[in-house]
Amino acid sequence: MTVIYAILNIIMFIFLAPLVQGLIKKAKAFLQMRKGPPLLQMYADIYKYLQKESMMSKHASLIFIFAPYIVFTAVVTVALFVPGINGRPALTAWGDIVMLLYLFALMRFFMALAGLDAGSAFGGMSSSREMLFSSIIEPAFFLTLVGLTLRTHTMNLEQIALGLNKFGWDVVSPSHLLALVAAIIILVTETGRVPVDNPDTHLEVTMIHEGMILEYSGKELALMHWSAAIKQLILLCILANLFLPWGIALTGFVGFITSIIVLGIKIIFLSILLAVIETAFVKFRIFRVPDLLVMSFILSLLAVVSEYYL
């Protein structure tokens, strides 16, 4: 049984991530009264990039060549222990909050270095902004997950999901709601969506993630985009399984199918939520973004405090 979960989770995280990206784009297009790109567009994009030649700056070094592989490996390693289908991750042996945060930090480190490598101004600008904003959001992300730890007395992501599931509908408490709002802001930040960063354009005014991968082409670009999509799906699954912990840990074959359907509904709901946030807000002026991030930190701090006092 664990082997089935392992295979299904790995397939979901790696191969269904582009589908979720397509879904968000379709939802955004619908809200903007457009048709939008096809649902499977990202698969076509990845195939196209794999057929193209890679070019790199002659000033860039080996770090530029290896960074996409390191980034993709790190994000797939995270996908191995994030709760997916039925609240079970691919590997149940290890994996906790700190490892999640620091594997994402490993990804960012190499993306930022790759941005600096070509010696262009776009890359440096994006790298500096990305490193600062992710530093400010890091304590918020940490405290949000710690709030859940304090309730379930475990740092392991799967055990947190199972522990919260046992509460049933009682899981909704002031602390949980505050953490949920903070988590939505974190989701928007870490996936690089409006109002923090604009994933659709390549203007230097609006880019953070896109700026760091600006110099990439060919198979490396495919890896970078794919890693971003997988990271997005990981964060959506964390929100779906940890913050909306219903419909997981169901037993039997019927329960298994039900849990897949419930997870699908939750991911679709969260994707549409992301699309609504992207359409409803404009991208903030770059030095107004920390205000939003600090608000997320305050909310998560309040979540921890209310966990203690209520």
Partner: protein
């Protein structure tokens, strides 16, 4: 005649050989390096032997001292080998044998500090350590900034030593003896108010040496100007002597009943970690950046140490042992990767003749091995898996969150959780800092002629750096075994028992699994996964090779001036945290008209708030009091003889 004695004798011989052979050109340097390397090896073997055979094998040296001996000698081994190549920079200007001799004396003093069993040996060794490092810091005494740095260093370290001497004297009077065995009875004999007084005195004294804000002002001035292997030793080992002192004082002498001590240490640690990394991010001198980063890491060590004291005061002995071991693991890890980074900075300085990152760049192609080792150090200090920095911080996080669950008092729980949030923030900021440090020096194009002409470092320097980089990786993968080795140290906090399943860390809470981490598995997944991915993608893609062209900069040829510089890279931080950093900008333009300036000068600077609100008022106060006291120093010898006579009469009357 045990190995520790041999180690000390070899260091003394090394120092003597350097002094005796000071007229020679090469032999003096060679003998000092050989003696210090062999002595360090003996010290390492001695320390490991004591830890493996558990406490009690040598009545004079317990497990804590043995661990610190390993720390000192590991880094001094690498520093000695490194100095063989690095000292060439000073050839012709300075006497290399004397520098080698001073290095031997410095390390010897540190070994004496951690193996001292009574007050006098400790204090004499402490002072020798400070003075030897002062001489080493003042190597380039012709430059004014070096003299200023040395002055501030010697003043601050003596202020700290004064506090420590006073505290030791008070402790000796209260417990009626001079050696540590007598001091260990202080827990029962001394009243708790006096214990708090002693704790405060020791804390101030040791924190001056450790470099805790606001007593850290000597650190970013002294570490950059010293020779790089000395900076590595000072930053990696000397500031940890303060951590050794605090552990010895609190856990062995004073006892851990008072949770306020632990909470104070956590608060100081958190503040130092945050401010340290902020100031590191503003620096463009690479060694000053590393010095401020040491302030940050000492803050992290203090957080973990304070946590273990708080937990012990609430009788949570298992977790207190875990936190203490986490402190020591992070101490060792920091020594290894900070030593590596300083040595890398020294190699960069030696070959490009500048420490200013604004003038560096593109060195990865010119110095590939140095760059690779520096990258390992940067990854380790940013606590990225699977290296040793991550393992140490993982242990500290687990301790903090477990304390957040277990501690009975709510505001203690809040303090610990906020400390964990600060730790998360500083971890991410240090990753920002080292992306800047590595990216600006090694990537993109060189920004000066010196950088363009750089060459790879000498073999001895590369061997030393490679050794430390390998240790970074090995200490990361095999950290459960390291923790297993350190288990006897948990006995220090009164009867703890840590259960570690062989090969990976498992934390248990209330019978169910709290957390788990398998470093070896993580390393295997990352490396094997990475290699598999690389091969799969290269076979799936249509083109296997990569074509190299010029960077696109809207049609013009990119120059080095188009890159991001260290100042610009940290500009977002300066803007967002301007309330703490007080950045000041000055832009002056010259030209025939305002609209077409011909020359521009842009200056940014940051005000250090502790200097304005703490040190300047303190200095003004001291100078005011001193000028009032100057009335007594008239210069007439007759008046001084009257003072002596008056004091004698007064003391005779008092004795009667």
């Amino acid at each position: 005649m045990d190995l520790l004695f041999i180690t000390k004798v070899l260091f003394i011989l090394g120092a003597l050989s350097g002094i005796i052979l000071l007229k020679t050109k090469n032999i003096g340097k060679l003998t000092t390096v050989v003696f210090s390397s062999v002595a360090s090896l003996c010290g390492m073997i001695f320390g490991v032997r004591i830890l493996i055979s558990a406490a009690g094998s040598d009545p004079n040296v317990d497990a804590l001292s043995a661990f610190f001996v390993i720390l000192i000698t590991l880094l001094s081994f690498a520093a000695s080998i490194y100095s063989y190549g690095y000292l060439e920079e000073y050839r012709g200007r300075k006497n290399l044998s004397v520098l080698g001799a001073l290095l031997n004396i410095f390390v010897l003093a540190m070994v004496f500090v951690v193996t001292a069993k009574d007050m006098y040996v400790f204090l004499m060794a402490w002072e020798t350590m400070s003075v030897a490092s002062f001489f080493l810091v003042m190597t380039d005494y012709e430059k004014e900034n070096v003299r200023k740095a040395g002055f501030i260093y010697v003043v601050m370290t003596h202020i700290g030593t004064a506090f420590i001497i006073f505290a030791f004297l008070l402790l000796a009077k209260l417990t009626g003896g001079n050696d540590f065995a007598h001091f260990a009875m202080a827990n029962q004999i001394v009243s708790s108010q006096l214990k708090t007084v002693l704790f405060v005195l020791f804390l101030i004294g040791f924190s001056t040496k450790a470099g805790i804000v606001p007593l850290h002002i000597w650190l970013p001035r002294a570490h950059p100007v010293a020779p790089s292997h000395v900076s590595a030793l000072m930053s990696g080992v000397m500031i940890k002597m303060a951590v050794y002192g605090l552990i010895r004082v609190v856990f062995s002498f004073l006892g851990t009943q008072n949770q306020f001590w632990g909470e104070t240490i956590i608060v100081y640690g958190a503040v130092s970690a945050f401010l340290g990394i902020m100031y590191a991010l503003l620096e463009k001198d690479i060694k000053r950046l590393l010095a401020y980063s040491s302030v940050e890491n000492i803050g992290i060590i203090y957080i973990s140490l304070g946590l273990s004291i708080v937990l012990a005061s609430y009788n949570q002995n298992t977790l207190a042992g875990w936190a203490l071991i986490a402190t020591l693991v992070h101490t060792l890890n920091h020594a290894v990767f900070k030593g590596l980074l300083f040595m890398g900075a020294g190699a960069i300085n030696k070959s490009s003749h500048t420490k200013n990152m604004e003038l560096l760049g593109g060195l990865l192609k010119l110095m590939p091995w140095t760059g690779a080792f520096f990258l390992v150090g940067a990854l380790a200090i940013s606590a990225l898996p699977p290296l040793n920095g991550f393992m140490g911080e993982w242990l500290i996080y687990q301790g903090l969150i477990s304390a957040g669950i277990i501690l009975p008092v709510v505001w203690a729980k809040m303090l610990v959780i906020i400390a964990a949030a600060v730790l998360a923030l500083t971890g991410a900021l240090s990753s920002y800092c080292f992306v800047k440090a590595f990216g600006m020096t090694f990537l993109a194009q060189p920004r000066s002629e010196g950088a363009k002409k750089s060459q790879e470092a000498e073999p001895s320097m590369l061997i030393a750096m490679g050794m430390l980089a390998t240790f970074c990786i090995l200490l990361g993968i095999f950290s459960p075994w390291l923790v297993q080795l350190l288990k006897p140290l948990a006995e220090l906090s009164q009867n703890t028992q840590l259960d570690l399943v062989a090969g990976h860390f498992v934390g248990i809470y209330g019978g169910s699994k709290f957390t788990e981490l398998n470093p070896l598995a993580l390393f295997a997944v990352l490396t094997i996964g990475g290699l598999l991915l690389f091969n799969i993608f290269r076979s799936v893609a249509r083109y296997k090779t990569i074509r190299r062209t010029e960077t696109w900069t809207c049609g013009i040829t990119p120059t080095a001036r188009m890159e991001y510089t260290p100042t610009s890279f940290s500009q977002p931080l300066r803007i967002v945290f301007s309330a703490i950093l007080y950045p000041e900008k000055l832009l002056t333009q010259e030209g025939k008209t305002v609209y077409f300036p011909e020359k521009m000068q842009y200056t940014t600077s940051e005000k250090a708030i502790y200097e304005d609100y703490f040190y300047r008022p303190l200095n003004r106060f001291i100078i005011k009091v001193s000028s009032k006291l100057r009335v007594f120093q008239s210069g007439q010898i007759q008046l001084y003889i009257i003072y002596i006579f008056g004091a004698l009469i007064f003391l005779l009357l008092w004795a009667l």
